[in-house]
Amino acid sequence: MRSIRDGRLRVVVPALAWGGALVAAYGVGRGWGAAGAMAVIMIPVAVAIYVRAGRGTDRAAMMIGGGADERQALIRRRAWALAAVVMYAAAVIGGIVVIALRGVGHWSSYWPFALVALAWAAGYNAGEAGYGAAHGADYVPGADM
């Protein structure tokens, strides 16, 4: 039980940290009144994540990550891969639409799309290199040590 509670915190704490960063960004840009309202909305979201992560389901184990077995970890990896492909496609399509509407001269309009696409490409290349594709089929991790 203890590990489940710890696992829940491993999910909730980063969610709160990201939410806090978002609230701070909103507060700096738009004022702290609206940011306060945003922070209040985050509380039930954090509670919902905490409750959901504590259930004995596949989804809870995948949310916690470290508590997942090999099948759950595989599902999680596939879901991440699908999410990355969808995100990449959305960035490319979004960039194309913006360029079609405003022309290539408006870099300020489409740089977020380009940033996401570049981040995806960098992540993909790092993954290929890190997981052994750059070494060819004969590569055995650890054999060259």
Binding site: G56, T57, D58, D69, E70, R71, Q72
Partner: protein, 69 residues
């Protein structure tokens, strides 16, 4: 690929949750393996075979594979 996990588990009077706990996997994963929806990794397949003291090729039978699956 068919397997005899369910048959062996029932023979030993174990629940899916108990087998999952013994193997270090979730009950849902035991259900998925038994139903053939999930093929376990080699290490897990060997763990299952050793747990039931059955050769791995008797526990997981590729000859039983349904054509096209």
């Amino acid at each position: 690929m068919r397997n005899r996990v369910r048959e062996q588990r029932i023979q030993r009077g174990l629940s899916q949750a108990e087998l999952g706990a013994a193997l270090g996997v979730s009950r849902q994963t035991v259900i998925s393996i038994e139903s053939g929806r999930y093929l376990p990794s080699l290490p897990l397949a060997f763990r299952i075979a050793r747990f039931f003291d059955v050769p791995v090729d008797k526990m997981f039978d590729p000859e039983d594979e349904v054509a096209g699956s």
